[in-house]
């Protein structure tokens, strides 16, 4: 089971690859759309990459509730099996 720090680092890697977000900016309080300038299509790509990397499934209605990096981290922590 990866630690919270591992999850944050993994997420930061995905954000950098998909949306060009500097890893240092990928902190829990950041909003994907308001702070990191991630658009809705990129959110779909990020979700797919998260599913691959962490072995979780993100249904569309759950994805709509993931607003911040912290939201994504807790979703991954809760749903990893």
């Amino acid at each position: 089971m990866p630690s919270t720090a591992d999850i944050q680092a993994g997420l930061a890697e995905i954000l950098e690859e998909v949306a060009g977000v500097a890893p240092a900016d990928a902190t829990p309080e950041k909003s994907f759309t308001d702070d990191l300038d991630v658009d809705s299509l990129s959110m779909v790509e990020i979700a797919t990459a998260v599913e691959d990397k962490f072995g979780v499934a993100i249904p569309d209605d759950e994805l709509a509730n993931i607003k911040t990096v912290g939201d994504a981290m807790s979703f991954i922590e809760k749903n990893q099996g």
């Binding site: 690859e17 060009g20 790509e45 797919t48």
Partner: protein
């Protein structure tokens, strides 16, 4: 607002091509007689009848950031690279122009076909959930125009003519119209193509349109030559910035040339074959010269569409001879760049403008033995070395499958 005039000038040029990553390196390589053509080394190409392509010298990933590379089809990447160079060249960002008065017209022949095919592979192999959410914006034929619009912040309108190999030239004609109609103050125009992939290669091959001179890549594209056997597929993009002359002069912009006139017609003859005497092509040429307020005698240079197909080149030669005469210095630069399809008219307009500016007509490579056809024989086609000449007006023509004919007349600034 300035008083609109019919006088439109070119204040910016950009290109990324099989000869160079920008306008200067492309022009230098053209004058040096370099060929952009090479033989495909990919496994899939081994059994293909035509294995030649003219690839970019500079990969888009060396120029654009990773996010834009991910989100844009290759045809959109090169469009943005060429347009950003043209916009910088025109000092567009410092021009004070209102973004609400900036428009884009950018054409493509094939569009995001490679994205379509790659994503179909993913769909077949992994299912619909793995298809990229960027599939549609990457494959739509207005995608390059839209991407350029974002890059320059254009908000007066973004347009995408689709007329096969005449698309780039048609974009320039639309740009001229927008400025004459006062629908914009600056227009970024151009064309783009990047469709090197087995399916387009197989499709053009099935039409018997491509050269199969696989063992001699540099000698394969040979417009007007007796031994020509088809075109070589090229990739790249070119862009121009257009504005009205009074506004350009008022802001102290450097003016490369005037876009003096344009003409467009359709053959109404066959879906893909050109009219054998170039009837519609000739009418487009005549219309462009008249639109420029000139006569045929004024045209000193023609950058021909001449793709190196057996029937296309003779039909065009007839059109040039009949509509203009035997006096202009003709060149066919696809002999070195290959055929950039939807980008061809834009790239060849850049070459036409540079030839005007430098009073120097690049040579047609590989024209060892001109076709016996009477019209080809009548033309003064520049071969072996670039030729110095004095001329104040030059014409670029472009034709596309579908019977599209475009001609553009440029004059010295």
């Amino acid at each position: 607002m300035s008083t609109p005039t019919a006088d439109v000038v070119v204040t910016g040029l950009g290109a990324t091509t099989p000869l160079g990553g920008d306008v200067a390196s492309t022009w230098d390589a053209l004058l040096a007689g370099r060929s952009g053509v090479s033989r495909l080394t990919d496994d899939w190409a081994k059994d293909f009848p035509a294995q030649l392509v003219a690839r970019l010298t500079t990969e888009p990933a060396e120029v654009l950031d990773r996010v834009r590379i991910r989100r844009l089809d290759r045809s959109q990447q090169v469009a943005v690279i060429a347009a950003e160079e043209a916009w910088r060249d025109a000092a567009g960002a410092d021009s004070g122009v209102d973004p609400l008065r900036v428009a884009v017209v950018f054409g493509t022949g094939i569009g995001g076909a490679v994205t379509l095919l790659d994503q179909d592979d993913i769909l077949e192999a992994k299912g619909p959930k793995r298809v990229s959410p960027f599939t549609i914006p990457m494959l739509m034929p207005n995608g390059p125009a839209a991407a350029v619009g974002l890059a320059v912040g254009a908000r007066a309108g973004v347009h995408a003519p689709v007329s096969a190999c005449a698309s780039g030239a048609e974009a320039i004609r639309w740009g001229l119209d927008l400025l004459r109609l006062d629908r914009a103050d600056m227009v970024v125009v151009g064309g783009t193509e990047a469709c090197v992939h087995p399916l387009p290669m197989a499709g053009f091959s099935a039409m018997r349109a491509m050269s199969t001179r696989n063992d001699e890549p540099h000698r394969a594209s040979r417009p007007f030559d007796k031994g020509r056997d088809g075109f070589v597929l090229g990739e790249g993009a070119a862009a121009l910035v257009l504005e009205r002359a009074d506004a350009a002069t008022a802001r102290g912009a450097r003016i490369h040339a005037r876009l003096a006139g344009a003409g467009g017609t359709s053959d109404g003859y066959d879906l893909v074959a050109p009219h054998p005497e170039g009837e519609g092509a000739g009418r487009a040429i005549t219309a462009a010269i008249r639109d420029a307020g000139l006569t045929a005698a004024d045209i000193g240079h023609v950058n021909a569409h001449a793709t190196s197909t057996p029937i296309g080149d003779t039909a065009e030669a007839a059109a040039i001879r009949d509509a203009i005469g035997d006096h202009p210095l003709v060149t066919a630069t696809k002999s070195q760049t290959g055929h950039l399809l939807g980008a061809a008219g834009a790239l060849e307009s850049v070459f036409t403008i540079l030839a005007l500016r430098e009073q120097l007509v690049p040579a047609t490579a590989n024209l060892d033995d001109p076709d016996d056809d009477a019209a080809v024989q009548a033309l003064d086609i520049v071969r072996r070395d670039a030729r110095k000449a004095t001329f104040s007006a030059a014409l670029n023509d472009s034709f596309g499958f579908g019977g599209h004919n475009m001609a553009l007349v440029f004059t010295t600034a």
